[in-house]
Amino acid sequence: MYKNIIIVGGGIAGMAAAAALSEIGMEVTVLEREKLPGGHVRSWDRLFPTLRAAKEVLDFLNKSLGLLTEIICDIEVGSIVPTPGGYTIHCTNGDIFTTGCLVLATGYDLFDARKKEEYGFGIYENVITSADLEKIFREGNQVTTCGGQVPRRVGIIHCVGSRDEKVGNIYCSKVCCVTGVKQAIEIRQMLPDCEIFSFYMDLRMYDRHFEELYFEAQQKWNVNFIRGRLSECAENPDHSIILKTEDTLTGHPLKLTVDLVVLLVGFVPGSSARKITGSLGLLQGTDGFLLPADEHTAGNRTLLPGVFLAGAVKGPACVVDTIADGRATAVEVYRYMKHSEVAK
């Protein structure tokens, strides 16, 4: 049995890695910044593409952690310093941990929609983000405008903070497309008389069942998909929002008034990862996410001995892939411990 493996980050990647490691008899400590483990998934109501409750997935992961996992919440890692034969983790509350084997599962942050000023988030009250909408669903509240009215028209804006050189992110965040389709369906389920307009550049339905969900959104829920990147939002005196875009499939500029705008915010590299990268000297890609030793053949290893990467710290990923990646990390950790001097 190997001991003293530290996982930084108790989101779903960290939890999946911890569960797999404890299952094969290894003692793990997970350090989580928030008051509870679960990361971003804690703020989700239902998951794409099957609309199953996010809570079910978290409950499953919580239950599978096993007796060999210790989760310490409400603790933030300040820096990680290499020492002979391992690493010293300095937490902001003064706690210090030493380990020979470290998994970084610090995840990502959401794009700050205020940076896309022309969309009016933080300026117009009827412009919200996909995370705000998910919170409304999660808390069982009604979707309303800022004035408390039922919206008759909702605009859903894809690629906010993604595929956009102007905000410095040229990469695709992968999961916003299907999130937008899912949320469009959920609004229609809640408000059958509300029209939905989704503005997109491409709809990247890359994974299993995604395309079917898109088909369902069109066929069953009559969601209107308009191909064109939103150019700007403008507010009417009644706080409704005028959207301007090019409808690229007709070749015409188009304007349209909606009562509520939902911005599908993408992934950006996590602030905690940035801090740790500095003190450890890990490699970052041009997108700012951490790079593994080899993206094809060693996706969970780094060039530092005993340091592993799990989940969305390496870039945008969905729940399914993140859990799988956490488990894959456990295999790499096991292989390392088995051959490492640290363990002996």
Binding site: L203, F215, Q218, D247, T250, H252, K255
Partner: protein, 110 residues
Amino acid sequence: MIHFGYGVMADATTDYDRNDRRIAEYLLEHEPSVNLCIGCGSCTAACSTGRMVEFNIRRLHTLIRRGETLKLKKEIMKCMFCGKCQLVCPRGVNLRNVILTINRALEQTG
């Protein structure tokens, strides 16, 4: 009044709020498969009419759904109902019935 030698041009923007969407609504009600379009252009590429004259069925039914129907009557008459568009559509849009339904809507709305 001083004649400046130019007039006010019509706005080229599609104004979704003001456009008359009666034909669009009739079409969506009677042939809802039109909403499945993903704008791939297979229909236009296969179109018998489009090979000979300016006729873009993909663009046409998208314009109709936005309430842009000004030149519609003359345009829709160009279709020869060969049905190739429907054969190639990857989303199963019943395009022949889309055109037939647009014709019916035109009859009803004048």
